[in-house]
Amino acid sequence: MTLTAPSTLLSAGSLLFAPEVSPDGTSILFAADVARATIFAFELPPEEDAAEAAEVRVDQLGTKVASLLGVEREDALLRGITVHPASHAVYLSIARGRGPEAGPAIVRAGTDGELTVVELDDLPVTSFALDDAPTADDERTDVWLDGTEPSSTPREIHGVTLNIAQVPLHRSTITDLAWVDGTLFVAGLSNEEFTSRLRQIRYPFDSAATETSVEIFHVDHGKYETQSPIRALTSFDGGSSILATYTCTPVVHFSVDQLRGEGLVRGRTVAELGPMNQPFSIVSYDRDGEEFLLVSNTRHPLLKIPASSIAGQEALDKPLSDADSSLGIPRENLDHPGVTWMASLDRGRVVVIQDDGGDTRLRTLGAAEL
């Protein structure tokens, strides 16, 4: 469903710029609103093209964003990040306050390091309301490990302390967005028995979405799963494939051709990155002519995966307890501690949020550093 009424986001969620700027210079910013189970597409006015080398760099990001929004630092929580395709400005989705009552704000960090609040309500907007969102009284729950929920409780499991929050299913209706050839991919949970969903919505929005329930083999849990949502996804291999990652931490390949909105589609698990961990982001980039993928995590280091290894990896379908089980494709730990949210600036650079002595900072990492 589309509408052109004033937007007023109710909650802060994933953000994504459409990669193409229109001929008149306007760009499209997609914002996920879990409270309304809706994707908004804001038309942003033209922004000046950045110089090729221009990058955003902000120290004490957490403090500055909180100050801008007039709250204490722990009450400004990052929920999404994306990079403007022309100006290279970084747009941040911030929950102002804690828990379900937190209000949304979009903050723009320019290449001059200046932070400003993006005023959404005056922008032209269309929207798409998902018709498969879990209802608020669905008694099933999802588990978050990122420690951002007030109901998070520290629990020690096998000597590791995790901040575990059980949240109602509808809070995970939309977990991440990706873009492939004019189509927005929306991951998250649905009201179906097989809750994990990957939806495809053409833009400009019409009334249609292709909604596919997806199933994966979880090596660490030793079983096929349909309940756990994709936490982060990206297209790769020239847009023909989706790489998705899940909590505790399978990495799964889906061919775009598989996703036709029919039946339960089984992805091909290509890596198990290890338990007691929730991925923040997954991005694709090129280094020396070769494509790689990066996965940032709550507990594991920043992990690098060569895209070339994925095609030949047979589906992992044996539990970890089996003697001949496999963790799949090779991965490399990168020495960039504390990297959480990430977004692609271009094929050779990745914008990251990095923990920095109790605060956070915004940096751009070039392929040579990755």
Partner: protein
């Protein structure tokens, strides 16, 4: 720097923050003289007053609304007059036996707290392992509530609403516990009174008290073409009598439960 706008006249400057000030948050006003190279200095320091947390939110309903519940009841629901703070319910909803003692392990532990989207209705589940016959918790500890007795659901005043204020008072509801009901819900056993004239309601009398939340969600009235008929539905507190009055006197021809 905090987002907002400054309005100045000759001897005053007024700052309007872009977002409402959060009670208890400290702000510092900095200023510097005009001209290059001048340093900022602190002019004032202030704190947004903490809102007086007045208790005005109350429990509007504890359901089931009947005086008696079956011994295999699955859940209660508590409706509040205002949105509540998620995370504040754990430890503040209790089920008491006839002696006024809390029956340990009878309610499913929170979190997770099962709030509706507006965070006004909390679903409180009885421990499902103790309801379903044959499961170990049922075998070991028995059903959470037993036929022939009385139980009282108590909602403490300590539950907080979305502003952080506690409830203005605690609430409770006592039930007789009847025999378990294990037969399926069968619409064929419902008594149906069809409207005989425009403006009259369609009335269903159920063969037992149903779950009022599910009744509100799953009963629909459609016309002969399967199109939903607009109108107003009402349910009595015991959830045994449901009536539906079509808007503008449209007759309804078919009632569907989904």
């Amino acid at each position: 720097m905090t987002a907002g706008t400054w309005d100045r006249d000759d001897d005053a400057a007024c700052f309007t923050p872009r977002f409402a000030a959060v009670p208890g948050t400290g702000y510092v006003v900095l200023g510097r003289p005009e001209g290059p190279g001048r340093d900022w200095r602190e002019l004032a320091r202030t704190e947004a007053p903490r809102a007086e947390r007045r208790s005005s939110t109350v429990v509007e309903a504890i359901e089931p609304g009947s005086g008696e519940v079956p011994a295999n009841l699955l859940r209660f629901s508590v409706t509040f007059s205002a949105p509540m703070e998620e995370g504040s319910a754990a430890g503040h909803v209790h089920l008491l036996d006839e002696t006024g003692h809390e029956s340990a392990g009878s309610l499913l532990e929170m979190p997770p707290e099962l709030w509706d989207r507006n965070r006004r209705r909390l679903t409180v589940l009885l421990e499902p392992g103790r309801i379903k016959r044959g499961l170990q918790p049922h075998v070991r500890a028995g059903a959470p509530i037993r036929a022939g007795g009385r139980v009282t659901l108590v909602v403490d005043a300590e539950l907080r609403d979305a502003t952080g204020a506690p409830l203005s008072s605690a609430a409770r509801r006592t039930y007789r516990v009847g025999p378990p009901v294990r037969s399926r819900v069968d619409p064929a056993l419902w008594e149906v009174r069809w409207p005989t004239a425009a403006g009259e309601p369609l009335v269903l009398r159920f063969d037992r008290g149903l779950d009022s939340t599910l009744v509100r969600r799953y009963l629909r009235v459609t016309d002969g073409h399967g199109v939903p008929v607009p109108g107003r539905a009402a349910l009595d507190p015991a959830a045994t009598l449901w009536s539906f009055t079509p808007d503008s006197g449209r007759p309804c021809t078919r009632c569907t439960s989904t």
